[in-house]
Symmetry: C3
Subunit: 326 residues, 3 copies
């Protein structure tokens, strides 16, 4: 892998189009914090597989459109070259595109929304990064969440873009949690990983895990561990089994586990326990925001991950030894 990576980087230096592809691949990898083109390529394959298997190729197209528009907008806005090269201005645009294509019907309005949302996601990324810098926090996926919420809400007021069904529509009433059979449990764990990219697909989940492993085996392990903890605890707390089985209560916890366990703190036992606590509380926040947004027909997206990770990153003094430099 390392030899391949070195050759790829030499090729990118020599060719502007390859360099642009590299930036966008890294942007895909950054959805799960990985600055690695091969991770991005495996993630892209997973998105393609998941979208086409679900009969929704517009989600793939929307994601790519959002990614490319965001990268181009970042260039026009003169962002930091190193951050741009690491894909930090692309992942929010990718997620905006995939989410809008998932929750709104296809049509000219959808493509306009995706382009607008992708551009604004760069503005929001610059703004969130600046607003949180004083607390040494990262923007995470907050720009994606804010911009997508606003566009989805606005779509309800505009005849041009009727909102379709919403992920959060279901869990309005507490229901008796049905039994969760072993197959459902395994499906729930894997789909918790693929739902980070809004897909309930086991093949895609394996591709995502492979992509993580290429860049960081620890990240792959924490993603799997976070998914296991999320599905187990959601089921024991009495969550609706349909939601658990589809991975809909697990994708934010997976991101929290990777972020707290490997990105911002150095892996270790003390950090693992703390990351586990943060992951567990992310399950609670996911359920809470589902209830909060249900009357508005709005999905919680990855807001539970953003809120919990910020909450668990602020008390840095408790982990001064384990804190990473970035």
């Amino acid at each position: 892998v390392d030899a391949w990576l070195a050759r790829w980087q030499r090729a990118c230096k020599a060719s502007a189009p390859l360099r642009f592809i590299d930036i966008n691949l890294r942007g895909i990898g950054q959805v799960m914090f990985q600055d690695h083109p091969l991770t991005g390529a495996l993630f892209a394959a997973a998105i393609a597989w998941g979208s086409i298997a679900a009969g929704a190729p517009e989600v793939l197209v929307g994601g790519l459109l959002g990614l490319v528009v965001a990268t181009l907008a970042a260039m026009r806005l003169r962002v930091d070259a190193a951050e741009l090269g690491a894909g930090l201005y692309g992942y929010n645009g990718l997620l905006v595109g995939m989410a809008l294509a998932t929750f709104l019907p296809p049509g000219p309005t959808l493509w306009f929304y995706i382009a607008l949302g992708a551009v604004v996601s760069v503005v929001a990324m610059l703004g969130t990064a600046r607003a949180t810098r004083g607390w040494q926090l990262s923007a995470l996926t907050a720009p994606f969440v804010i911009v997508t919420w606003l566009l989805l809400l606005a779509a309800q007021a505009f005849a041009g873009a009727d909102a379709g069904g919403s992920v959060a529509g279901a869990p309005l009433e507490p229901v008796a949690a049905a039994a969760l059979d072993p197959a459902g449990f395994v499906a729930g764990v894997l789909k918790s990983i693929s739902q980070v990219f809004l897909k309930a697909n086991i093949v895609a989940a394996l591709l995502f895990l492979a992509g993580l492993w290429v860049a960081s085996p620890a990240a792959a392990l924490f993603a799997l561990g976070g998914a296991l903890l999320a599905v187990t605890s959601a089921h024991l707390l009495g969550a609706e089994s349909d939601l658990v089985r589809a991975g809909l209560l697990g994708f934010s916890p997976v991101l929290t586990a990777v972020a707290l366990g490997t990105v911002f703190y150095r892996p270790g036992w003390r950090v693992a326990v703390y990351a586990g606590l943060g992951t567990l509380f992310t399950v609670v926040v996911q359920a809470a925001l589902n209830v909060f947004f249900a009357p508005l027909g709005l999905p919680a997206l990855t807001a539970p991950f953003v809120l919990c990770t910020w909450m668990f990153l602020l008390p840095q003094q408790a982990f001064s030894d384990e804190r990473r430099g970035n």
Copy 2:
């Protein structure tokens, strides 16, 4: 105009009552960022005309009460003398008074609410200014929005002040956008300007434009351009024509256009494109907040302007050349 202004300032220096009137006129002008007594006088005439033409003189009275109470409260709270003299502690009180008189029925409770809200708007102004200083942001109309939301919500719990009809009550359901005839288009553009002061009145709009022109021709042009962009894009996105025609989707975008285009950045092509993007996104946020607050019967007020302008002001590094000193 300049000679008149110099004579007026000399007269104010010599007379405390004139000085007090000057502060309050500038407070009216500051709703659209203009520190100019003549702008304030023209705006005051527009408010008077709009209120009386709508058969609602209590809106004029409420606004003046809020303005004067806020200015007096600021004096008691020992605010910075230069900021006080520029009218920066009056405009939120003016808007609180006009909004409460628009959305609540007249009566003793209304006047008490306006006085309380005006005083608290000064506290909120000091607090918002301090909270946002680290990011080099201004308080904008955030104090007005927060204080008015809280008082309008509380009024629903208090028998003393039944909430009347609300601006945001309408756009709950997506509707087929009817055709927008040229007369409706022009009315929508002008009323987008007068709705900054909660009035749908074309004569008032022309007075507001005249008041802007006196202090800053660029501000008048950006206000008009912002209104054009807002009405056009809201219509093309499929917004309800009644809302477009009444200027109800355009007043926050007008403020964003003036703020981004002329107040915080220096006018120019690059800034104009950026301000246009911010103005366009303010239309989206206006529609989004209308949907969000509809179940509560709460108007969005100028919150879309505040949120978008803050979002588009935070990424300063992208506009370091065009940034103004203030």
Copy 3:
């Protein structure tokens, strides 16, 4: 009292178990800002009396569980020793435990929620303290409010923990305020104090006042004055008499009065007027948040106190003479 306190502190130094009890007693006192073990003991007696008189001993047990778990979690998270010793990491856990036991039915899920919420309240305390330090604000009860809201919302999505009746359920519609007889007025004033600990009990209120008096007579007077102002103004504004009589519109104002009048500013006439204004506006915010959260069946808890006290603490320059060192 002073001699007793000196003897107690000597005993604590010699005995680790006594020291642990001391920290937890101070944690109880910190709900109303008092770093005093005798205050904590009197508050504990009030909680016990109020819980048992209401036939809800689980509220007492839940509170003590939350308190002890939070204190132990703070020790594991290596918090500042002086802050730990002053009880600053216990009061949010106590309130989380009491609130969850009040609003959720007893059972294994409840105890798990309380333990989880207490641990997370320490993380949230560290985070809020760090987030607000730049503005020289304190965390107040924000950690309790945030964690409890999230757990109560999540409980609606989990079959394991049906949410019971909610405090905020009532005030959806404006009602004609019935007459408030003198007995109801006195009950409302005293219960406004005991509701700080979620109890409507007059004996408990007297014990709370005694506990305050032991540590700070000024705090006891401001608590009583805040309760009088809250009940009077809520009634005059037309609030529902049942809410006023039960102290449900007064507990946040009581906390605001003590915080602004005695904790963060030095008592005096100018400060008293300012604290009175903040207390009055807290009544408005309490009513506003009741309306805002009613559709979600969520209680406002002490959020009105946190929001108003932060709002009225930010403009420090206006009170530079009266500002306390902490």
